[in-house]
Symmetry: C2
Subunit: 200 residues, 2 copies
Amino acid sequence: MLTDEQHRQKMQQRKQVQTQRLAERTLEKGLVIVHMGNGKGKTTAALGMVLRSLGHGYRVAIIQFIKGAWEPAEKAALSHWPDQLVFHAMGEGFTWETQDRQRDIANAEAAWERALDYLSQPDYRLILLDEVNVALKLAYLSPEKVLAGLRTKPEQTHVILTGRGAPPELVDAADLVTEMTLIKHPFREQGVKAQAGIEF
Amino acid sequence: MLTDEQHRQKMQQRKQVQTQRLAERTLEKGLVIVHMGNGKGKTTAALGMVLRSLGHGYRVAIIQFIKGAWEPAEKAALSHWPDQLVFHAMGEGFTWETQDRQRDIANAEAAWERALDYLSQPDYRLILLDEVNVALKLAYLSPEKVLAGLRTKPEQTHVILTGRGAPPELVDAADLVTEMTLIKHPFREQGVKAQAGIEF
């Protein structure tokens, strides 16, 4: 256990390291961000970034690849920014809901075309492609097509791609990749249902 | 590769499994949620939950244990809910900023007292204890004290505890635990600085 004085000296040194690090990190760029893994929080963390971007006054586009409608609470909360935020739910539900692969593929392709449209508009500083990784995993979209589209994005635009099953090519091409890992989940272990305010 | 008809049959079966699962999950309860790990997204995913809870009309309290001020963009975005949301930045910065352990400890204790106050008010349906895990890791707060406080929470209140270093006792006591794992980070690898709209 350090004394208070030793603690102070250690923290002074750490402060120097931090200052040095910050000085070395000067690049500004729009990021390709991937939220993957089996845990919770992939879409939720993207929503947090949407909130921050809206707070900065940026325009934001959200395109949902699987869901066919916006969750009412998210819709209510984000209705405060009608001039900054656009939202498109381009899916019709999970694969076990639609039970129709050709229709799922057509929906994924239409969603991707919509995404490309926003990627061509530099005033959209954040584009959230929600659950697009699932469409990639199911081969409803090809990684080549998505990577080619991401290469067209304006320099300052951030793009977030969420969902299980991000292909390795996407991880390679991304700047910031976080895996949400399930450690404990009350659904499975306690029979708890999805909770308002947390999951929807 | 399944034919479209085989796909349809497989998805019909999966739908039955899903329906069964949902039927088994009937419990409603406020959750103790932990976001841990070295990756990004711990606080950000908590912010997404704050947004959902606000959309449901719930009262929300945010208590920051490390930071001494609210990020301007988050503050601007969340200023739309003056009647539902309270925010307290109870820290004075990272340990290498303050360089004063006794003051850090006093701040952590004051933040925890504030948390207990909201935990006693059932109309606060979501309480975010941001970076509290760091205070636990540094032994500024004891796990026993925090767990005892969490046990007093009203049945329907959700509590989110974020930050690296969640102690095992907290993970054991929590309902929903997600580890954010760093796969790739542009700070380190590309010299990119923290980006507006994403990290703050």
